[in-house]
Every structure is written in C-alpha cells, then in structure tokens.
C-alpha cells in the first residue's frame, strides 16, 4: 500500500498525543504513589518547624522567602542594589508587599 502524506502526519500526531497522554497518566500515578513521601516530609517540616523550601542557599532572604524583609537585600550599605541572582528570579512574598510596600 502506498504511504500517503496524510497517514504520516496523522500517525506522527497520534503518536505524540499518545506520548503526552501517557505522560499525564504517569503524572497521576506518580502523584498518587508520592503521597506517603509528602506526608513524611510534611511531618518533618512540622517537627522541625520549617517555614521554607531549601531552593536558594546563596542569600538569607531567598533561603527563607517567607521570613524575608525589605531591608535585608540592601543590607551592605544604604545605596547597595540587591545583587544575588535568585533575588531577581522570585518576587517578594505578598504579605511583605502588603505590609510595607505602600510606605516603601
């Protein structure tokens, strides 16, 4: 049988859809099977009274994002600009902006 161009396209698209569908099914399965790990980690966070994820260890105000304040990024001297790369990757937490932002 002569292979039609539309068959090639439809076959490739069907394959991609199946791969994507398979990945989404894998997601659902992985999330379900990871529940005990999350429960253990949540218990550990509770036990150690942790407030933040350990994502950026380069500066205190990005290591503990929820506890940060507006002056720490500029602590070197009053005119010092915030210079750690992760500081520009994430924005300030909402409660900080709400509490101090207007008078900033």
């Amino acid at each position: 049988m002569l292979l039609r161009s539309s068959n090639i396209y439809l076959g490739a698209t069907a394959l991609l859809i199946m791969v994507l569908g398979g990945l989404f099914l894998y997601s659902t399965w992985t999330v379900q099977s990871s529940r005990p790990v999350f429960a253990r980690n949540a218990a550990l966070a509770g036990q150690l009274e942790l407030t933040d994820l350990c994502l950026f260890t380069e500066a205190s105000y990005t290591r503990h994002l929820s506890l940060t304040d507006l002056s720490t990024p500029f602590q070197d001297l009053p005119m010092s600009l915030e210079h750690f790369p992760s500081g520009s990757l994430v924005g300030p937490p909402p409660h900080l902006v709400r509490t101090y932002g207007k008078s900033d």
Binding site: T13, L16, A45, L53, F56
Partner: protein
C-alpha cells in the same frame, strides 16, 4: 460521511506535500515554534510542581512566627516575650526557636543552623542535611568543623544524615543542641532567634498577630497562611524573571503570528491562484490553509509540551539550573513530582494552536477570493 473524511484526507495529503516542498522554511518555523512552546511549558510545569510541593510539605509548619526588628533589621527576641504572648487568649503554646546561618569560607557555602524542638543531638554532635553531607563528603561518625562567632572552630560529629527524600526541605540544614548553638552563635541566654506559636483556632491567627503587634510594636508576626501563600506568589507568572521569560516568548509568538497575518509570499499567492485555476473552491483553499496551520501549530504544541515534561520531570530542569542555582554552592539535587495543571496546559493549547491557525487562514481567504488570473499575475 466517508466522502467527507476522504476529502479532508486528500486536502491533508496536499497540505503535507506542500509543507514538505518548502522543507527548509517550514522546518525552521516548526523548530522556533516548538522552542517557544517548550520554554513556556517548562516554566509552567516547573512553577506549578514547585508550588504544589510547597503547599503539601509546608502545611504543618509553624502557625505564627514572631520576629523582632530594629530599623528593619532582624534582632533576637527576648524570652520574656514568650511569657506575655502565651497569655493572649487563643494562644496554646509559645516556643522560642534558635536558628541562624553559617558561612563556610572554604566551601563558599551557606548552611542553616537549627535547634530542633525534639530529639536534639547530644552536645558535640550534629544531624546534617544530604546537601551538607555531600558538600563535605561526610558520612555518619565523621567530624565537621564550623567557625563560631568568636572565630574559633567548633568540631562536631555527624550523628545522622537526614533522609535525602526530604532534601527540598532539609538539604542545607545542620541540627544541633541548644547548648552548642548558644556557644556557637554567641546569642545571650535570655534570647531566642524568634518565637513559634500554636494557636487554637486558625481564624484567630490575624487577631493574635494584631495583639502581638500592639503589645510589641517592634515585633513582626508572620502567620501560616502568609507562609503558605509565599510560594504561590513568588512563583506566579507575574513575578521576577518568570514574567521576563513569558514576555520574551509571548513577543516571539506575536512577531511570528504577525508575520503570518501580514500576508502571503508571492509564491504562496501564485500557488493559491493555480489551485483556483484548476478548479479548487475558495472553501478548499481555506481548508488547506487551516490544515497547514493545524499541522504546524499542533505538532509544535505536542512536541514542545512532551519535551518540556521530559526536561522538567526527568532531567530535573537542567536548562534552568544555572539560573536557579545562582551563586548557591549548595543546591538540592531534587526531582520534582510531576504535578500537572491540566487547565494551564489547555490554556497553552488555546493560545498556541488557535491564534496561529487563524492567522494562517485569514490571508489565504483574502488571496483565495481574488480572481485567479489576477493572483497569478
């Protein structure tokens, strides 16, 4: 029905052949398009998975943290505060917390020192996160030295390495006893780093926080809902660098679509003219252009999304790592759990496939409604 399907198949046959005739142009188009979808999907997958992970693991964290500031700087909290705050109605318990940071000049790495509430290591020993163990190449029983507040090194024996499955929380942690922490940091006996409160009713968080601020104007209470909202906000699409990535991708897509919408090339117009001259209807031409738009955009969407999924969840976001690591020496080598927000994927589908298909059809409709003779000339 069979005829209708066969007609679509014939038009699709022609469309694919026409796309393959301009292989160079169309494959570079597909590549750029796939790249845009890949970047956007990677950001969406990464930020959503991180937000979900934070939401799940930080749900049992402290209910209220009370810090003290002096002209914007964090200061140790006097332990006397704990006594008076405990008297506020609704507050069940107040625990002074001892924690801080230590910088290792040799490794050029920051660690978080912390005194756990329960199961404190005995004096002279520490529990370390897997990142700390990796940085020092240490295992249980090994010794690690840190320079204290007076410049003198304190040597600690590693009692335990915290399980690596929790490294997204504990990678840089060094847990030690209260006596060791006080000796190491030089914090006075009547002081703590901050206070952690247990409150009976979550609805009372803000009332308790207000009472504390009234009682101690230099205090800074942070409630659990604020802690939980932090990761939702700092990784939202409007924050920091993410908005830049989004703007760059959106701009690239607009240029892309604009180029398409602004008109057809002379070659494409001639092709439409010939098709009309050999008997194609305007609707056939538009159908052909519709399939062309779908073929490019759907393939780009599917390929970009599959690649982004593999990048974020199988390759640990390798391309984002240089940006995420920044100057951090210590970085958790975590693999995110694949939480996927199907709503976001559907939105990406709508914004990537639909506009491109429309911008492919409209100029073709304009060309197809003109007399074939005029188009070919």
């Amino acid at each position: 029905m069979a005829n209708l399907i066969e007609r679509q198949r014939y038009i699709l046959d022609y469309t694919v052949s026409a796309l393959l005739r301009r292989k160079g142009k169309n494959s570079s188009l597909l590549l750029v398009y796939t790249l845009i979808v890949f970047v956007l999907s990677s950001v969406i997958f990464f930020t959503h998975a991180l937000k979900k992970e934070a939401e799940l693991v930080l749900k049992d964290g402290p209910e209220i943290v009370v810090q003290r500031t002096m002209t914007g700087r964090n200061q140790p909290v006097p332990l006397a505060w704990a006594e008076s705050i405990r008297k506020i109605s609704g507050v069940m318990a107040v625990r002074p917390r001892l924690w801080g940071y230590v910088y290792d000049t040799l490794l050029k790495a920051n660690f978080t020192l912390m005194v756990p509430a329960e199961n404190q290591p005995e004096q002279g020993s520490i529990d370390v996160g897997s990142g700390v163990a990796r940085a020092y190449g240490a295992s249980t029983g090994d010794m690690i030295a840190f320079a204290g507040h007076d410049g003198e090194h304190r040597i600690f024996t590693v009692r335990n390495i915290i399980d690596s499955e929790s490294q997204l929380l504990t990678s840089d942690l060094v847990l030690l006893s209260e006596l060791d922490y006080r000796d190491f940091s030089g914090i006075a006996a009547g002081q703590a780093s901050d206070l952690v409160l247990r409150v009976r009713n979550p609805k009372e968080y803000s009332t308790v926080a207000k009472k504390i601020t009234r009682m101690y104007p230099d205090s800074r209470p942070i409630v659990r809902t604020e802690i939980q909202r932090t990761y939702d906000a700092v990784f939202s699409w409007r924050s920091g660098l993410i908005v830049l990535i989004f703007s760059a991708s959106a701009l690239a897509f607009v240029i892309f679509a604009w180029d398409k919408a602004s008109g057809l090339s002379a070659e494409e117009r001639r092709e439409i003219g010939i098709l009309k001259a050999v008997g194609w209807e305007t609707s056939d031409v538009m159908l052909m252009k519709f399939w062309e738009g779908v073929a490019v955009s759907l393939t780009a969407f599917l390929a970009g999304t599959v690649l982004a999924y593999a990048h974020v969840f199988f390759a640990s976001s390798a391309l984002f790592m240089p940006v995420l690591k920044g100057w951090s020496t210590l970085y958790p080598s975590f693999r995110l759990t694949p939480f996927v927000d199907f709503g976001q994927v559907a939105t990406l589908f709508l914004f990537s496939v639909v506009p491109y298909t429309i911008t492919t059809v409209i100029p073709a409709w304009r060309a197809a409604t003109i007399d074939p003779d005029a188009v070919m000339r």
